[in-house]
Symmetry: C2
Subunit: 396 residues, 2 copies
């Protein structure tokens, strides 16, 4: 039995009301997994057919209270294995470095955890559906340029980021942080961003300055950035050394120490069906199915397959080129929906020829990260069910 009903599960966790969400300027129908810290994703239809998500629908993943920072008093420290430690105001960043803009998708490592929860429970972790992923146009300066100004010393292999948002979820409680390898930090795509879709960053998305690390898990795009440190080793912060790691299925995450498991970084190829979302019965007949596909790091999506028979046969969807090398891609296909229930399955192939694993069962891990299995949505029609047969859509 293939796991299904992710949409229904996500809908079930909707809590709160538009009033509660007011401070963060989010749409009324956000699915709020937690109010404190604020964790919410938009419904599937809000991401459909929109290359840019828009701030009001952009998912929000927080590990502690959202800081309210006085941008005028704020400074960025650049230190560690550098020749010239820097202290930079926002004005310094704007004046001393070339402004850059990049279209980039950001995806939470827990995106699509709901599919893993249908396999086995994951205590303490939020049941993210497939919408903990969003895309914006980010404005700022290259981290590479700032590091060049500071002069990275030999021996530095990683660049760590620190923020002031103290997370009660960390053990011990500590501000959020993380690092990326120097080779990624000095690439042409990693940004210190103050702008989002042409406006200053909102508080909930990291004002006054945040990291944007395209192609990597969202946890490395540290918000409310206040310190950049060149160092020999990866970050020892709880959210890199302990959390955001894939543990073996039988590991107890409350007992594993720093360094256990596989540290997540570049995102694996994934996809989701966004519309129809299975929530409303549809008339049988020709129906456009649409969604996103995304390949992390420097990869793009090369093919998107859709199946109405659980993966026995596949048809290629129309796949848009990515708006930038660092974004998701929109796809669509018109299928002829028979009466009754139809399970629609989608899978993507990246530009190196890698594709998604079949089922969340094989990917289940104790913290519930990196579910990039085939996406499945059950569509119900207002017509009568098809005659039963060995290849019917209902035998999944």
């Amino acid at each position: 039995m293939a796991p299904l009903g992710e949409a229904a599960r996500v809908a079930a966790v909707r809590v709160g009301s538009a009033r509660d969400m007011g401070p963060w300027g989010k749409r009324d129908d956000m699915l709020v997994h937690r109010r404190d810290p604020f964790n919410a994703e938009p419904p599937r239809h809000a991401l459909a057919r929109r290359p840019l998500t828009g701030c009001e629908s952009f998912y929000s993943r927080n590990h502690g209270p959202v800081p309210r920072i006085d941008a005028r008093a704020w400074r960025l420290r650049v230190d560690g294995l550098v020749d010239r430690p820097l202290t930079l105001s926002l004005g310094d960043l704007r004046e001393r470095f070339a402004e850059r803009e990049i279209l980039a998708t950001v995806q939470c490592a827990g995106n699509r955890r709901a599919g893993l929860l249908e396999v086995r429970d994951i205590p303490g972790e939020d049941p993210w559906g497939p919408c903990a992923i969003s895309t914006a146009r980010w404005t700022g300066v290259l981290l590479a340029d700032v590091l060049a100004a500071a002069g990275v010393r030999p021996g530095a292999r990683h660049v760590a980021f620190a923020a002031p948002d103290v997370s009660p979820l960390a053990d011990p409680p500590q501000p959020f942080g993380g690092s990326i390898p120097l080779v990624k930090a000095t690439s042409g795509e990693v940004l210190l961003a103050w702008g989002m879709d042409g406006r200053p960053l909102p508080d909930v998305h990291g004002a006054p300055l945040r990291m944007i690390v395209p192609g990597w898990i969202g946890a490395r795009s540290v918000k409310w950035l206040e310190r950049v440190t060149a160092q020999a080793d990866p970050s020892g912060n709880y959210f890199q050394a302990v959390a955001y790691r894939i543990l073996p299925p039988d590991a107890d995450p409350t007992r594993t120490g720093p360094g256990a498991g596989i540290s997540l970084g570049p995102v694996a190829v994934t996809c989701a069906i966004l519309a129809p979302d299975g929530g409303t019965p549809l008339p049988p007949g020709p129906t456009e199915i649409t969604g996103y596909a995304y390949a992390g790091e420097d990869r793009t999506v090369a093919r998107l397959d859709v199946s109405l028979d659980g993966g026995r046969t596949w048809t290629q969807a129309e796949l848009d080129p990515p708006p930038s090398p660092w974004t998701w891609q929109e796809w669509r296909i018109t299928v002829d929906l028979p009466g009754g229930d139809t399970v629609v399955t989608a899978r993507a192939w990246d530009s190196t020829g890698m594709t998604q694993p079949e089922s969340p069962a094989a990917l289940w891990n104790p913290k519930g990260y990196a579910n990039n299995s085939w996406d499945r949505v059950r569509l119900t029609t207002t017509g009568s069910p098809p005659a039963p047969g060995p290849t019917g859509p209902g035998d999944q």
Copy 2:
């Protein structure tokens, strides 16, 4: 029913005798898929517990007759979008550039095709088992250094390689060739190699000079290299524009033109069980299982799981660190074999947290490339079969 018996299938294609293989200096028990062009892989046990394969066991993939080149008359041309076209003898390469050595694994894009053949036939393609992969210590100079001497011009985005071995399998017949992106070509790991394990390259492995492109499919490690061309676009050679591409399952490869499908490059995480190989019944009880795991591009293998119940539960094998960032890794685990038949399943996770797809059925493609599904070997014991049960090893 999971595909099994890959070892048996490969054994069935063994043809020829030690006499036939004499010219290439290969071991007597190579599994020869084709004598002309010469295509052969070693048996599983020959790769087991050996970080370096050794020339006599190294798999051999050829698309045409093996050229015999007079190394003294041979020259390498470096041309295209460069400021200073070069013509270099072997002596020039040795004198003008720093000698470099790299341990690197080379894997054929068709490795483990036999697993796909159990799903559906693939006419005209050889049934490679899991041993079209080998590792050597290569000696030569960095392609990056040679390109720097030639001065790559703006506008160059790819570097193409040409060889003299005319392949009758190409349409139209043409010498073998291919290209890699400039960013890979100028990396610190791509070699123009004249040496293999401390000796001059043998003819069958590309004498006098070959490419070594670590982490990418073997087809880009062009043998008998005679020309390196900086250019704007990827190679139009048949073996890149038409072959070595993943086509959708229902595509007819005899009718697809250049550019169809997904061009293969970096290799996806894979693994194989090498010993025991399932060929001989074993006594029940503690048994060491060993094999290789390999992740392409700049990734390594972070975890190797073994299951005796078809993937319901997994145990982590002991995994050696890679001898270099560009090689496979050896793993081993001692399991308690019950009486009767046991299917052993292995899967690897790469350093980004990506893992292998479950079954070859989902990966089947018309040319039979890139089967990186879980590996499975059926082991038979000399003892009596276990009592049947719902989670027994025989119900796969």
